[in-house]
Symmetry: C3
Subunit: 180 residues, 3 copies
Amino acid sequence: MSSSTPNLRAENREQRTDHPTNILPAAVLTVSDSCAKGENTDLSGPAVVDVLTRHKFSVMTTKIVPDDTLAISNAIVLLTDEARLVVTTGGTGIAQRDVTPEATRMVCTRIVEGIAEHMRAEGMKKTPLAALSRGICGVREKSLVLNVPGSPKGAVESLEAVIDLLAHALQLLAGNTRHN
Amino acid sequence: MSSSTPNLRAENREQRTDHPTNILPAAVLTVSDSCAKGENTDLSGPAVVDVLTRHKFSVMTTKIVPDDTLAISNAIVLLTDEARLVVTTGGTGIAQRDVTPEATRMVCTRIVEGIAEHMRAEGMKKTPLAALSRGICGVREKSLVLNVPGSPKGAVESLEAVIDLLAHALQLLAGNTRHN
Amino acid sequence: MSSSTPNLRAENREQRTDHPTNILPAAVLTVSDSCAKGENTDLSGPAVVDVLTRHKFSVMTTKIVPDDTLAISNAIVLLTDEARLVVTTGGTGIAQRDVTPEATRMVCTRIVEGIAEHMRAEGMKKTPLAALSRGICGVREKSLVLNVPGSPKGAVESLEAVIDLLAHALQLLAGNTRHN
């Protein structure tokens, strides 16, 4: 209780989110029962990291959780603590265990419908099945959470369709100038 | 009470949902005060049946209910018990008694926003008024529920815009392979 | 207490909503902390009034409130009492104090998703940032509420993209013929 650990940890966390103006801290959350069990190798997570890095995001943390609402929402809460953008991959479909959008909604205060609409509209130029993706984009405190599909190709294409929008949205979230 | 009727009925229901691989059981629910009272002939229901049949769905049941939230949601619950796809026609507008989307939402565990978006986007190529249709597509257990407008033309065009997507979505719902 | 004021006021209100067939009563609600404090001049409100007037709406009331959920929803309730269309401008973004869509949702019984989708789709033809606008269109009793962005340009373009749809929707809301 008399230890200075809490302060040190707080300072550490501050340092971790400290970053040059153009580099935004991001995190990638892979949602997959089979990857969480180690039965499959996570290919989508690294593919998402790659896209983020090429767009001036700095990926600080990657994490794998099973398709479980509570596991997903808890992970999002922790990751948004340090990252301004959390990209989840997987669990956006319509099968019974696809619950990523629901878990995201639970911990976001507002939803940016237009980003999901735009991901689907762009996706449908390549495959009509993009209409079945239920991924959303939500705001939690000063961070954005984006759900992209679980396939590496779907994940990369969805993210690339909106990443410039996300960068701009994060500026608005950080700035807050219009209303003060 | 000692009768075997319950078992027989259960068996019958099983038989009714039994179907060849490519033929999926469907149901059509007409939502209309005037058709339910017998004041108007239901033209949209048969038009929807026709589209489904041409797309390898087997329509097992058709039903007419008034524009009443509880009547609609109860009918959807019963129909999804035996049909993999339930198409409702009517009650998707913005008038006071247009409550089909609300009734559908009540009994579905997840909404596939992209299907509604696609119906409207396709509809707007023909008439801007398609933007006013509030129909949704929801998942209930292993079944899909789709709301299309009440006019025969609007119902047919909306359904045709997404029927291939629905067939694919039903495969995903039945399969569940990705997560096991 | 024995005064006839309540009756007089009710009569007055009736008169105010009385209007020729083609002229629909509208109201404009500017949502802005700085305009409410008098620190900035409201430019968007008058720009919205101008578009409405050119489209045969008669703007009966304009009002300015801060970016406060309760202030916004209370104003919408009062304004829909007399106006068939209430257009709000401001508070549709993703900053912390952008709460107009949430306030609108609180007092509307149904949402017309297609109108918001269409505003964003049209807006994105000019700027990709239109995807970040979270404005919605809702129904309250026989009135419509539309959220447009806070910039005069964004407000005018968004409103013009859907104003013909709104006029048609209001006819449907007033008529109610299909279901009686």
